[in-house]
Amino acid sequence: MNQADPSMFASQLESMIAFADAQGEFVLGAFLSQALDRINAITATSQGLPSATE
C-alpha cells in the first residue's frame, strides 16, 4: 500500500489556494485553507508537534 506524503498535499493545497486567491475565488480559497489547516494539524500531530489549530 502506498504511503501518502502529507507535505505534498500541503504544497498542492497552497498552490490551489494561490490560484483561487488570484482568481478572486475567496470562497474556494477559504475551503482550501480549511483543508490545509487540517492537513497541517494532522501532520503536526503525527510528528508530535502541537497543532496550530488546537
Binding site: 475567496f26 470562497v27 477559504a30 485553507s33 480549511q34 496550530a52 489549530t53
Partner: protein, 131 residues
C-alpha cells in the same frame, strides 16, 4: 423589530453556536461568514469595535480561513472594511448587509414565536401540524 431586540436575537444565536462548539466539537461545525456577520451586527448595536480576528477567535476559525471569508463578504458588499482581508480592520455592515441580517433575524424571531402554541393536530392526516 427594534434594533435592540434584533441584537439580542443575534447575540443569542452566537451564544448557542459557541455552546455547540463546547458541547460537541468544533470539527463538525463551521460557518465563519455567518459568525462574522452576526458578530459585526451585535458589535454595531452595542457601539463596540469588531474585527475579523476577534470573530475568528470566538468561532475558533483559523485566521487564514476567516481572512478569505472577509474578502468574499467585502466583495459582495455585505461588510465594509478595507476589503483586503486584513483581520485587524474595524468592520461595519453595509446597508445591504444590515438589511439582509435584519431580515434573517426577523425570520428567526418569527420562528421562535411560532414554537409551541401553534402546533396542532391535523385530524385528516392524523399527524401533528407544526408551523
Amino acid at each position: 423589530m427594534q434594533g435592540n431586540e434584533a441584537a439580542q436575537i443575534a447575540s443569542a444565536i452566537l451564544s448557542f453556536r459557541r455552546y455547540r462548539l463546547r458541547a460537541l466539537s468544533p470539527d463538525i461545525f463551521g460557518e465563519p461568514a455567518w459568525d462574522l456577520l452576526l458578530e459585526v451586527f451585535v458589535a454595531d448595536a452595542e457601539g463596540a469595535p469588531m474585527t475579523a480576528r476577534i470573530a475568528a477567535e470566538r468561532s475558533e476559525t483559523p485566521p487564514s480561513v476567516m481572512s478569505r471569508w472577509l474578502k468574499h463578504l467585502s466583495a459582495k458588499n455585505l461588510v465594509i472594511g478595507d476589503g483586503d482581508g486584513n483581520l485587524d480592520d474595524e468592520l461595519t455592515l453595509s446597508g445591504a448587509g444590515m438589511a439582509a441580517i435584519e431580515s434573517v433575524l426577523l425570520q428567526a424571531r418569527a420562528l421562535k414565536d411560532g414554537i409551541g402554541p401553534t402546533a396542532g393536530f391535523d385530524s385528516e392526516s392524523g399527524r401533528l401540524d407544526i408551523r
